[in-house]
Every structure is written in structure tokens, then in C-alpha cells.
Amino acid sequence: METKQKYLTEAVPSFTPRTAMEEAARCLLCHDAPCSKACPAGTNPGKFIRSIRFRNIKGAAETIRENNVLGGICARVCPYDKLCEEACSRTGIDRPIQIGRLQRYVTDQEKAFGMKILKAVEATKEKVACIGSGPASLAAAAGLALKGYKVTVFEEKEKAGGFLTYGIIPSRLPQSVVDEEVQYIKDLGVEFKFNCKVGKDITIEELRKEGYAAFFLATGTQLPKTIDIPGVDLDGVTTAVDFLAAAKPNNGDIEVGENVVVIGGGDVAMDCATTARLLGAKKVTVLYRRTQEEMPANKEELKFAQSLGVNFAYTFRPGEILGKDGKVVAITGEGTDGESKIQLKADKVIFAIGQKADDLKEIVADIELNEKNLVVADEEADCKTNIPYIFAAGDVVNGGKTVVHAVAAGKVAVDSIDEYLTSIREIEATDKEVAAEKEGAR
């Protein structure tokens, strides 16, 4: 397959009904399903794999979808090796069940059957605004719509999905999967306003006047981090955010350079390395400051990068970027042992060392932020901020975690927002009753 085509085609093939059954038959169907306990979003593999085993694919789809509106996306991008699959009892015998791949199979079948498990309910409750359209916001929007709220998602970009759309390589997460799940959420009655940045194109105060009773702030971390080393301003030095956001919406039609160096060791760094390699770079090297064991990237992503011939220089931190005529020509690496040094030829250097949040004060002037400029909220408990009607979760709170954590936090926000608006509704109802009584007494 042409590498460009490989960039656009899912690297891991889907199970067929037979191979899915073979894999499900390997499952020990544990009494206490540790896989199910290990999912941050509360997905229940123990139950849906049992459904596959007993030939109830539709029931399996129901288990996944009722719990996670982004089931197809999570099936592809979750770090299973650190979550459900790490907990799998089968590991004690040989190797874990491929839970993520089975989940993907079920969501594929759900699509093939044309199933609509989540159905729109009549929106009779208050208006809620979700700011940002990444996984936390999408999960919250769907959950709130299912509880009868009128939900609008405000997105500054052209398309929904956040990093799902503007980051993750299509060979891992095809855009069609994101688009389909966004459509699913639209079908639940959620409205999307694109090219609309809250704080600039419209303010929270204006939205409050329009009747929005609660806000869910999930704008993520979009500003790339760089390190202040010599040469960062050279032409050819870029960031993961910019590099990936250019590649995916253009279906890979971008210039990637011949010798690419990616700095970082997470899934984003892997996505940059594989993207560069599949889009034509001759040599791609990942420069990572710690050891392979310490590298946070998903094992499957690492293996995929290695299978494409990506090189890895471990225990080197970037030294300086060398240029000629304003353009990058090489980068040096300083060994963490204090002695080793390397120099790598490079016409592109990509920083994939994490992101930070936008200036959130632009959105809400008096929101409480911590020293990292992240919103202060407990996303595992209630997602409440210092402002009663504003809730926040996802990367904008935690600084950058996985998609499944964002989904989990979005679900917490749904319950918290519902509880908040329900209590206001009850207070108002009581006030009205009291007023009516007073009226009657007069």
C-alpha cells in the first residue's frame, strides 16, 4: 500500500465475526471482570464480551453505547495496555484479550446494523452551553441532551472533535469515525455552533442573557509547549499541534520534510512520527529524554512507529537547533548522563512535549485558575468551578490526559450540571408557591 494510503487507512484491521468470536472465546468471562473495573469511563467489557460470546452482538453494542457515546472513538484511541487489558486475567495464562479491538468490532457492527441505541428525548429543560467540542464536551453534550436539556456546543474551529479531528493520525482514528459519532450526538438534538469562539465572538454574559443557565468549559489545552533552546525560531521548527492540525484536515497533503526529528515520548509524539513517516519523510527520529520503559506512549503506538522504521534516541534532551539561512539543518541532543552528545540532521523539528491551556480569562474573566493556568475543579467529583453556573473538565482542568478520561469527566459533569439545574428549578418552584400563597393571603 502506498504510504499516503496507509496514513488514511486504519492500521489495525477490524475483526470479522469469526475472528471476533475466536477472541471472545479466549476471554475467561471472569466472575469479577477486572477489565470492567479498570475503565475510567465505566465501560463494561466483561459484559459486552460475554454478549459477543453468546452471539448477542446487538446487546453488546447496547452495553457499549449506553455507557459511552464515543464508544467507537475510544475503541481506537484508548491506552488499553494501561487500563482494561492490563487488568485482564487472561494475562496470567498468556496475553490479554484484545478488548479495544472487540469494542471496535461491536461498534462497527452497530453501524452495519444501522442501530440507534441512544434516542433523542424531548428537550424540555434549560439551555446549556458546552464550550469546546473535544471528547469531554461531546460526552457531556450527549449526556445532557439525553436528560432533556437544550444543549449547544460552541466550537471556534470549523469542525467538531478537538484533538480527535485536529490531532490523532487517521491510521489510528479515521475522520469518518469522529464525524459519525459527532453526527450521533447531533441526532440527539445537540446543536453545534462552529467558528464561534466564546469570549471573542460571543460572551458568557450574552449567552446568559439568551437563557443559557449553565456552562461546561472544556476547551482543552491547545497552546503548544516549547523549550527555550537556541534555534526554536528557525524555519522548519514546529509543534505537534500545528503539524497534526495541518496534516489531518488536508488528508495528508502537506510538506513534511526529509529528515524529521520529533521531541517527546507520548502518543502525540508517536502520531507526529508516524504521520511524518507515512507522508514521505525519509528518516524520522524521536528524541526522548527518558528511557523506553518510562516513555508514556501506548505500546501499540510505539510498535506501529517502530514497524514504520521510526528511529528512537532515548535519554537525550534537545540541546540546540542549528540553522542555515534561517532554516533548520540539524538538532543536537544532550545525554541525560551528562556526557553523551548526538547531532541529527533535520529539516523539520517537531515539539511534542505537551500543551497548555489558552488564556481562559478571555472566556470567563473571574474564573479561578491554578499556577499552571488550568481551571480549578474536581473533575472526578463534580466538575464545579468557583462560579456556580460554570463547570469544567477535561484537559483544561487536568492539563492533558487521555480521551477516555475526558469522556469520564464529561459524564461526571452531566450529573453535576443536572443536579445544579434541578436544585435551582426546585427553589424557583418553591419561591413561586410561596409567592402564590402570599398573593392568596392578600
Binding site: 469469526r18 475466536e22 477472541e23 471472545a24 475467561l28 466472575h31 469479577d32 477486572p34 486475567s89 494475562t91
Partner: protein, 417 residues
Amino acid sequence: MAIKKDLSIEYLGVKFENPFCLSSSPVGSNYEMCSKALEAGWGGVVYKTVGIFIADECSPRFDNGNKEGTPWIGFKNMEQISDKPLEKNLEMMSKLKKDYPNKVLIASIMGSNEEEWAKLAKLVTEAGADMIECNFSCPQMTSHAMGSDVGQNPELVKKYSKIVSEATHIPVIAKMTPNIGNMEIPAIAAIEGGAHSISAINTIKSITNLDLDHLTAMPVVNGKSSISGYSGAACKPIALRFIAQMKQHPKLKDVEISGMGGIETWRDAAEFIMLGCRNLQVTTAIMQYGYRIVEDMISGLSYFMEEKGFNSLDEMVGIALPNIIPAEELDRDFKIIPKIDDEKCVGCGRCYISCFDGAHQAIDWDEEKRRPVINDNCVGCHLCLNICPVQGCITPGEVKFKEGREPHDVIFKTKYE
């Protein structure tokens, strides 16, 4: 060096280089097939049943029974006897015997009346067959004068056995249908009629699966289907049971038996031999894997004999029969409590679930350690040992005698595969 034991054995006075034969079926339908099989190492072939009747077959004609990720646990076929003209089959049989004089050619025949049985017996004898197998048992014939309808009727079995054995000088085998309660009855009838041996079992009448779209059985033949024969591994327990019962019957205990029904491996072969078979026949496993499977049957059986010190298959024939006893004679004085190896245990809890839902609530579940713990309710049924997915994790442990029973030595199995 590869071990190669002498696997030769006499069956009905004819020496087989090994007991492995193709059974009368699609796997031995013509010269090329039988020739390839004999070259691959099979000791003999039972050529696909010939008759005056020429089969008109349907399409498709097969289905398989499966479970989880395992297909072919059993196999359903709707083929009848040969669909080739008799002359053609006789010609191929002659050529086979001529080209492979040291291999054994068994002709399977099926008539629909006395004249046909006699004629067929005479013709296949002239063609050079070493012995004749009377097919009284095909369960999917389109004529009710033939097949298992005959095998279920001891009178007819006796009559046709007599006609065939009188029409030939070579040994005659009567092939039994399992679609009956007691196989001893038609088997005795066959022997009384003059047959020299019994072969068992033919396929079991079955409906493997329904097709939920067309609301008929599988395979779907223009929207309909029929009951027909089931074979393969799933049938082995039934075959072994019929064979053991015949070999334990006073009137049949000295009758030689050719066994079949789900033989795939040397192990299956050893089991049939130890229950009294002197000859073995295989089809389903060949349809799934090809003639080459005989290599592992020969090699595996040789290693087994070496390991256990058997010098010939003769020493093995029927050796297990004395240990198959009536339920009322079993020693019921004790229970064997299983022991669980916590180190090997992976904590799946399947033993806990099965013991609670399917046995005696004799396993407690330690939530914290994720380990099963056997309690005093244990009756020693060993369901847990059967369900455990981990090799060697649950094994038989302490032998406990029931109250008031005299303790004594107990033979029990300690190693499970």
C-alpha cells in the same frame, strides 16, 4: 530417530499394515482419491458404497456444528452412496487392488432387495475386494428400502447378511446405524445371518443448525433441508459407548469390530482399540484436514506404544473393557476434594461461578485476593477442575471417606491435560 512401531494387525484374517482405513464416504469415491490415501500411509480403504441405485445428490450438502471459535466439532453430510455407475466403480476397485496388492480393499455395498445384495456381493468379490462391508446404515437415502431404515430392522439385517455371506467367500462386515437404542440387537442379527464382523457407527441422524433467515435446517437446499447424518469429534462418545456395549455382550464379545465415529488423532485411535476394535475407519477428519493426518496417527500411536511398553496392537485390543462397569458397581465410598494452586490461579472465578450455579456452592470467593476457597460443602464432583482454564491449577487432592465407610486404597487420576 523417529520411532516406528509395527502397527500391523489382523482383522478378519487379513493382515493390515496399520489399522487405519478410509471409511466408506466421500473421501474414498474414486481411484485417484484411494490411491493418494494409500500412498499417504493408510492401511486400507473402504471404497465408497456402491449399489445398483445411483445417487442423485443435492447442493449444498454439508454443514458443521461449532462452538465459540471452534468449527467442525461435528459435521453433517447429506451424501448418499456413490453417484457413479457400478461398472465404473468396479473397474476402479480392480485397479486399486492390482496397483496396491499389499493394502486392503474393502468394498461397501448397498442393495434394495435380495437380488441386488447378492449381485453386488458377487461383483465386488470378482473385482478383487478383500472383504465386503454391508451398508445397513446410511441415514439419508432417498429410498426407504435402503440405508438405516434397513439397519433398524433386525429381520432385514439378518436376511441381507445371509444373502451376502452366501454370495461370497470373503469376509462380510455389517455396518450398524446408531439411530437405535440397542445396537446389540441388529448386530446379533447380522452375525446370526452370517456376517463375520460389525462396523460401527455410521452417522447420527441430525439437524445441526437452523438457518434463521430461511427458517429451515442447514444446509439450505432451495429453501428446504432434511435430517441427515452427523459425524466427527462430537460423535466419538456415542460411538465408543455402542462399541463397548457390543463388546461386552455375551453373544458379541468375540466378534471382531471395525470402529469409527470421530477419530481424528492417534489418541482417539487408541481409545477405539482399547474398547475392542481391530480396525479403524476415518472420514470427517480427512474431509477437514486431508489424508496426511494418518502420519500423526501412525507416529503418535507408535510413541504411545513405546511409552507404555506395548509390542503390538493385539496387546491393546479390548484392554479397557473390564474397567467399564455398570453404575451400580462403582465404588461410592469416598470423595476426592480438589486442591487449588493459588500461584497458578489467575483469579478468573469461573470455578466459583460454576460451583455455585452448577454444583454445590462449595467454593467461596475471596474478593480481596481474587481467589477461590473450597469450603465444607465440597462433594468432590470436580466441576471446578473441568471448568478451570489454567493448566494444572485445580487438581484432585485429599481422598475423604464417607462416614461409616471403611478406608481403602483408591486409584485416581492426578494428571490432566
